[in-house]
Symmetry: none
Subunit: 317 residues, 2 copies
Amino acid sequence: MAVSDNERSRLDDAARAGWLYYIAGNTQDEIAKKLKVSRATAQRLVSLCLSERLITFRLEHPIAACMELAARLTEKYGLRFCEVVPTDAAAPTAVAGVAERAAALLEATLRAEKPAIIAIGTGRTMRAAVEQIAPMDCPNHQVVSLVGNISPDGSASFYDTLARLADLTKARHYPMPLPVFLASDAERQQVMKIAPVSRVRALAEKADLRLVGIGQFDLNAQVFLDGFISREELLEMLRMGAVGEVTAWAMDADGHVLPGGTNKRLTSVPLPIPAKALTVGAAVGPSKVVPIRAALKGRVINGLITDEATAQALLKG
Amino acid sequence: MAVSDNERSRLDDAARAGWLYYIAGNTQDEIAKKLKVSRATAQRLVSLCLSERLITFRLEHPIAACMELAARLTEKYGLRFCEVVPTDAAAPTAVAGVAERAAALLEATLRAEKPAIIAIGTGRTMRAAVEQIAPMDCPNHQVVSLVGNISPDGSASFYDTLARLADLTKARHYPMPLPVFLASDAERQQVMKIAPVSRVRALAEKADLRLVGIGQFDLNAQVFLDGFISREELLEMLRMGAVGEVTAWAMDADGHVLPGGTNKRLTSVPLPIPAKALTVGAAVGPSKVVPIRAALKGRVINGLITDEATAQALLKG
DNA sequence: CCGTATGTTGAACGATTGCTCGCCGGCCGA
DNA sequence: TCGGCCGGCGAGCAATCGTTCAACATACGG
């Protein structure tokens, strides 16, 4: 209790420091005086406030060039939602920008009165997006996972996006209590029948918003790097034309979900084609251009969050 | 048109700069390189982004609301000190929160090198504040009472805030060795002259910090409930406009200390109007709103410790 | 065409900030 | 109980930032 009290008051102070710094525009020296701590501590508090995401930045101004790109993408692919953020030339694959927009989308949905069901995928971008969410109280909303949360070694300990999201928002959450891949189609058929799984799938299918990452499907495919599928399987999928994946469903260049290979033992919630509910993909970087284009062509997604450079590349194709 | 284009693109650049700075975490040097401008210009763009409110900060922490309220109260009433603590919805008149802050203020003052004189009032809040003080060794400081410490029945045995404070801090202490009320103005005049009393008053007038409770003045007035004044006197004071009290000095709604009635036989140290030394009032609860507002209006206090709900009510008036 | 008024720019410098390092006090295991 | 470990703290320093200033560009009126 004493620990959590300490913890509490430290975060309180961090929030105070952050408020004084970013909102009231005090210098760290002034903050130090006001909170009666050394300047070094004031600095630590401000930085704690940042790292604990007590404070978040939101850019309100639509940048013309980005708007333009978003409009053209919307037009070209008949999107229901599209946001383009500036590219950071020095770090063209940095997810901070799209993560921030994805977080904004999540927050907007969660802040709505009407109880919403939000389905979410996995990956670096989703993780970063959830990290950006400001703590809030949304017990009326439900968040559900589109992808199994158990890794090949049987642990559920790798970073759990859904749990973190639920933690921050107090929304009811429904993880998919399965390995991402099972051993065979037969095993999958069986498992799909068990109540907790079918319940999660049913919920996911009613989702008002699906937010997913988009992965490349090549020698750097995340499912391969993480050891979910073997090299042989990867190569077979590539032979079958796989270029990208959404919630681990491998797709070819036209966005058709491949009927065989590892897709046969994948437990992710199926992708309605064309996407019915608002389904937003978020990804940046040269290596994501082909997969994103595939997902767009195949109507796997009907919303997109990306950056300027990627948007430009998508429009060139 | 050229102007508005310029304007537009400048704001665009500002937004970009702000994005790169706050969201992507670039330094201004990096931004300067990316936008191909000098660092000075990059700085100007970031600062423009701020001043044009292209970017906003959102602090999602209960403390944020408190800070905001404190800032507004400080502004509205020209305060030198203001703290707002979260309201405990389950116990809107609980003094724990403000007591803790009041204790922190006392401790901060006592911890200072420079010998300080602290004058203190009475009441539930003061008592709770003193209870929160951590024992410390401050023989160089002096604490003095603003209110007599003898109750109507002649005993000095009721809870003695000052003695407890002195006990915890080892500070030299100067109680006011008088009944709170004497029988008449004449008697008061006489008693004021005796050395111990005038010494305490002289000391109190030099106090670096005055910390006082703020009381309502109605049928639940503490001075009435404790039997210091009669029902008839209370009613007379109410007819004269009394709404609240600070160190038992009855004030009207504008914070003017009433010239007659029970104030004529009150022994409390007079309230300099407007308050000169840092004079902090501490109070919480719906019934305290009117008295606090009076004290603020009348410049009886120039510092305040209260809670969110009370602060909100004060700002509405 | 010139001179002035206005505004923008980058260099420079002082202020502010972030970070590293050594120190201290509390906590845990021996 | 004692030593070692760990986390937090402040001193000090290097990086970063904010502002001033003089120079330069541009617009505009004479």
